[in-house]
């Protein structure tokens, strides 16, 4: 690994030197925005016709390109927007902010793709999926609740963990191997209502990007993917509001300028109507029960001057449950402060401070009884980072930065609440960790056809006191513990993480791409169930837990057809992971101070092929059709010495076949139809092969772990959107009618191996065993009313 560093350094120095602004060069830079809202457009392209080259805006809508002094034709474009062309006589550095108008119809959107797609094909980034809020809204949704993560689950290589869950697995990885960021703050539990809804309110979101393998060097800390969710900045032009009334929740978003073109805000909230699931619970005391969630997104941004902008954003969400026995609250909160600063027209920087917290408390419904108690758990992050982009020249773009996060783990404590409580406080040892990384990368156009991105991330992880660390013997029995004082660094891990991407343009319509990445993961979730619960607790690497390491290589072929309206891609990948964590049989992961003794370590690997055919637009009869079809074949395996007798077994998310079809048909200006169909192999499970009667019950006897599969899962959803006839009015509205699981398939959520007495009245009678399938959702129609003004 070591020889790589000098190579990177020399490349970097060469690039820097090459990028010096000579007297013959000048820089064009600026922001690309939406003309109606002033919202920055991220990933919009700038194409220089004379040079057949270009660049794209970054995550803040900023672009910069340095060229020889001359006259150029610049084409600014973004999918779904009218392109904009400007002739520039470049003889000194200029700032050029461009506003693009959203195109009225889909067809206009397609005309601009030519320039853009050339750029996508040239981009040495692969295994990345980007979705905008609008695309997500068009997909038929469960209970009519539009959901970012459920939309992502329709992409190749991304699978839900269990029916209805917003937990997801990327390329066979565990859900905790996904880094979920909301405006750069980690979201540690992205689900509401036990995961049936994600915490992301689509109305407050600008776009989401999922890196499912080729993770850029500026990200780290997770093995499988990065889900980068960015909130809207707020309308800079006029005050506007939008909202919706659905069967489950109502939403309202208000956004607008506080100071025209300088300062804007967005405030977005939603709340569910209580008791959605309660009528099914069979409990007579529903009246006093509570079951709801709410969340709030807020963001403020201010442009101080041409070179400085600040963004403040926050999220707050809570779930509340209560029944006669127990009460529970859980939720995330995040806060992000960002400062964009231009050191020069070629040097963009962003400084971020993030705060994130996930916590829950669970207790008895009665608070004053002697046996009343409450159990808390929380995880808190404080992060600081500086990210820099140096637009050296048309051939080189350098990125570097430093990031540091301080984690504060309070995995669990329980205490009595009554004044005459019989409980003593129980506390799992707290722990603290500092996760730091520096990275540098360069994107280099080596020849007109060959582009490379190479980078290196160096990550450093420190466990810091105060904490108690248990020592374990080879049988995972605790033999003692060590105490560490406040601020004491008692354990350190570090890792070098090379990241490499290569892109070779075969023709104007096709390219091959390859990538390799190594990633380290220092914190993980103690989750032993497939769907997970809000009670699951994150825990850090420690003297007993080594960091997980993944190496992933991928190769892809990309080909566009029909004036680039049909995009096809094939990607194959192989991923191997060290220090993979699984849990011993019957692990006890909650309120267990020796939880590290429940862990077992091994290796895991996964491989697969992902094929996607994406139709951007096709005129069909009077309307326009778009959508995609994807097919994935993949396998994911684990091998842990103490599990399954040391033999390899299918990972919990190993689902070899996965097909998704997503279709959206704009029938007319007022009417659109959408459908999606998914099919996937059932997930693996362990089933009994025999039975033993012990103490009046049948105890199953199992053979191999995950040796059986649920039957295949498939489902069709449809929706119809009817827009009001008020296109010119200030107030607009639409109705969305959707049907989830149209053909009412009873997809397995779980299989239960049940037992009953063959003669219930006779205690001496034998037992009958049978299998009961539980399914969550039959056919579910729903309706949502949305408004905008």
């Amino acid at each position: 690994m070591k020889p790589i560093i000098p190579v990177f350094l020399s490349l970097w120095i060469a690039a820097m030197a090459y990028g010096e602004s000579g007297p013959d060069k000048a820089t064009i830079s600026g922001h690309i925005k939406d003309k109606n809202t002033g919202e920055d457009l991220n990933g919009a392209t700038v194409y220089i016709r004379e040079l057949s080259t270009g660049t794209a805006t970054n995550d803040y809508g900023f672009y910069s390109i340095s060229l020889d002094k001359n006259t150029y034709t610049l084409v600014f474009s973004y999918i779904g927007y009218e392109k904009e062309q400007q002739v520039i006589n470049l003889h000194k550095d200029i700032t050029l902010d461009v506003e693009l108008s959203p195109s009225g119809t889909m067809l206009n959107a397609v005309e601009v793709v030519a320039a853009k797609e050339g750029e996508t094909l040239r981009n040495p980034e692969m295994s990345v999926e980007k979705m905008e809020s609008k695309t997500i809204r068009e997909i038929p949704a469960l209970f009519g609740e539009v959901d970012v993560i459920r939309a992502l689950q329709l992409l190749p290589g991304v699978q839900f963990t269990s029916e209805g869950s917003t937990g997801f697995s990327v390329r066979g990885g565990s859900p905790d191997q996904n880094l979920v960021l909301l405006d750069e703050a980690s979201v540690y539990n992205a689900g509401h209502l036990l995961g049936f809804f994600s915490v992301f309110n689509n109305d407050a979101i600008k776009e989401v990007t999922l890196h499912k393998g080729d993770i850029p060097p500026r990200f780290g800390g997770r093995l499988a993917s990065v889900l980068d969710v960015r909130m809207k900045d707020g309308n800079k032009k006029k005050l506007s509001a939008s909202g919706g009334i659905g069967l489950i929740s109502s939403r309202l978003t208000v956004e607008g300028p506080l100071w025209k073109d300088k300062t804007s805000f967005i405030l977005s909230g939603r709340r569910t109507y209580a008791d959605l699931f309660l009528p099914w619970s069979g409990n007579n005391n529903i009246k006093d029960n509570k079951l709801y969630f709410y969340d709030l997104n807020a963001k403020l941004n201010h442009q101080i001057n041409e070179n400085n902008r600040i963004y403040i954003s926050g999220y707050f969400g809570r779930d509340v449950f209560k029944n006669p026995f127990a009460a529970m609250k859980f939720g995330n909160q995040t806060a992000t402060f960002r400062w964009n600063h231009l050191f020069s027209k070629k040097m963009f920087s962003n400084f971020t401070f993030v705060y994130s917290k996930y916590k829950y408390d669970l207790g008895t419904a009665e608070e004053n009884e002697a046996n009343a108690f409450v159990w808390y758990s929380s995880l808190e992050d404080y992060g600081l980072q500086g990210d820099f982009t140096y637009y050296a020249n048309t051939a080189n773009t350098l990125r570097f930065g430093i990031q540091s996060i301080y984690h504060n783990f309070d995995p669990g404590r329980a205490a009595g609440t009554g004044s005459n409580s019989l409980f003593t406080e129980f506390r799992q040892p707290r722990s603290h960790a500092l996760e730091t990384a520096v990275y540098v990368s360069n994107e280099q156009k080596i020849t007109p056809l060959l582009t490379m991105r190479y980078g290196l991330r160096y990550s450093l992880f420190n466990n810091t006191g105060p904490s108690t660390v248990y020592r374990f013997d080879e049988h995972y029995e605790a033999t003692g513990s060590d105490e560490y004082g406040k601020g004491e660094i008692y354990n350190t891990y570090m890792g070098l993480e090379p990241r490499l991407g290569v892109n070779y343009l075969l023709s104007e319509q096709s390219a091959v791409k390859g990538s390799y990445s190594r990633t380290f993961q220092y914190i993980q979730l103690a989750q032993n169930t497939t769907a997970g619960t809000p009670l699951d607790v994150w825990f850090p690497a420690s003297p007993n837990v080594r960091p997980q390491i993944a190496d992933q290589a991928a190769l892809g072929y990309f080909r566009y057809f029909f004036r680039n309206t049909l995009k096809t891609s094939v990607e194959i990948y192989y991923k191997t992971m060290q220090n993979s964590i699984d849990f011993k049989d019957h692990a006890n992961l909650l309120l267990n101070e020796k939880v590290e003794g429940e862990l077992r370590f091994g290796k895991s690997w996964s491989y697969g092929a992902e094929i996607m055919v994406k139709l951007l637009a096709l005129d069909l009869w009077k309307g326009t059709l778009n959508g995609w079809v994807s097919y994935t074949y993949s396998r994911a395996w684990r091998k842990v010495r103490e599990i399954n007798n040391g033999n390899k077994y299918a990972a919990p998310y190993d689902k070899p076949q996965d097909i998704a079809m997503v279709l959206n048909y704009e029938i007319s200006e007022r009417l659109s139809f959408a459908a999606n169909w998914i099919y996937q192999s059932g997930r693996p499970l362990t089933v009994p092969t025999g039975r033993a009667v012990i103490g009046g019950n049948i105890i199953p006897v199992y053979s191999d772990r995950n040796d059986f599969r649920y039957e295949p899962y498939h489902r069709l959803d449809i929706s119809l959107t009817l827009r009001g006839k008020d296109t010119d009015k200030r107030f607009k509205h639409d109705w969305n009618f959707s049907v989830y699981n149209v053909y009412n398939r009873h997809n397995t959520w779980s299989l239960n191996f049940e037992q009953e007495r063959s003669d219930p009245g006779n205690p001496d009678s034998g037992y009958n065993t049978y299998v009961e399938k539980v399914y969550l959702f039959g056919i579910i129609p729903s309706v949502t009313f949305n408004f905008y003004f």
């Binding site: 007579n284 019957h586 039975r691 033993a692 105890i699 053979s703 995950n706 059986f708 009961e772």
Partner: protein, 278 residues
């Protein structure tokens, strides 16, 4: 305690629909010996059951093992033979005056068809401070309310694993493994258990419904930790499973050698009773 909460929570959300299905299991056909028995400090004929495993869908009584030679020895060298009393069920008994002694280690050995199976269990000590119970009606729980059996006892400073059994008029209500309440004392270690819930009587069930004059007897056993783990694991395998709360199924870890399944335990018991008056 924690487990009770998780069960409550899962009951709240496992609201889906269910239907019986037929699935083809790759059944093993191989028979293994199943051993289950325990001895307590109560003076009585203690039982041991020996059966064979069967295919999972073998819907009949388990095949008994009547031909074994079984005995229990303690670390002082005393030997108690077990004699076959019910060949149809494979049940063996000690003599009627047998009882386990606290802090002695007992070894069960079984000889069957040339194979020898053994299991060892140390009988923990019991802190015999006064223990009493009362009943509290919880009208909000379930269809017709529950009676909560509340226990008052000074828990000793050592770590205990308790097993609770409930008798109504001398009949054991918690008569299967799935009905035992097993708890550690981590949350109240060394405290006075000032009315902690130790049993629940569902008034919508005839078996558990209370009538005036009914005598409720509470048995607390201070069981070895490994035996508590065994019952917890068995209960996890019997319980309703959901993707939310259930980990991967796995074999229940017993303490019988030579590939047999099951458990042999020795533990002390204590009792408290109350008579129901509405």
């Amino acid at each position: 305690m924690k487990n009770i909460f998780i069960i409550t929570l899962s009951a709240m959300i496992t609201a889906g629909c269910s239907e019986r299905v037929d699935i083809d299991l790759n059944e093993e056909g191989q028979k293994r010996l199943v051993v289950y028995g325990f001895i307590t400090t109560d003076t009585m004929a203690h039982s041991l059951q020996l059966t064979y495993t069967a295919d999972y869908f073998f819907n009949a009584r388990p095949e008994p093992v009547p031909g074994a030679k079984a005995k229990i020895t303690d670390d002082l060298g005393n030997t108690e033979p077990l004699t076959l009393t019910d060949p149809q069920k494979g049940i063996y008994h000690t003599s009627g005056d047998f009882f386990a002694v606290e802090e002695r280690t007992y070894t069960l050995s079984i000889e069957l068809e040339g194979e020898r199976y053994t299991a060892e269990s140390s009988c923990p000590a019991f802190s015999r401070t006064p223990m009493h119970i009362d009943l509290k009606y919880q009208p909000d729980w379930g269809k017709e309310g529950f009676y909560e059996i509340r226990c008052y006892y000074q828990d000793p400073p050592t770590t205990e694993f308790y097993m609770f059994n409930i008798y109504k008029n001398g009949t054991l209500l918690t008569d299967s493994l799935s009905e035992k309440i097993i708890t550690d004392d981590v949350l109240y270690n060394g405290n006075y258990t000032n009315g902690i819930g130790v049993g629940y009587l569902d008034q919508s069930k005839e078996k558990e419904k209370l009538h005036p004059g009914d005598v409720i007897t509470f048995q607390a056993g201070n069981i070895p930790e490994k035996y508590a783990q065994f019952i917890w694991e068995a209960q996890a395998e019997i319980q309703f499973s959901t993707p939310l709360f259930s980990g991967p199924p796995a074999n229940v870890k017993g303490n019988i050698t030579n590939g047999a399944i099951g458990y042999f335990a020795a533990y002390p018991t204590a009792y408290a009773s109350t008579t129901y008056t509405p």
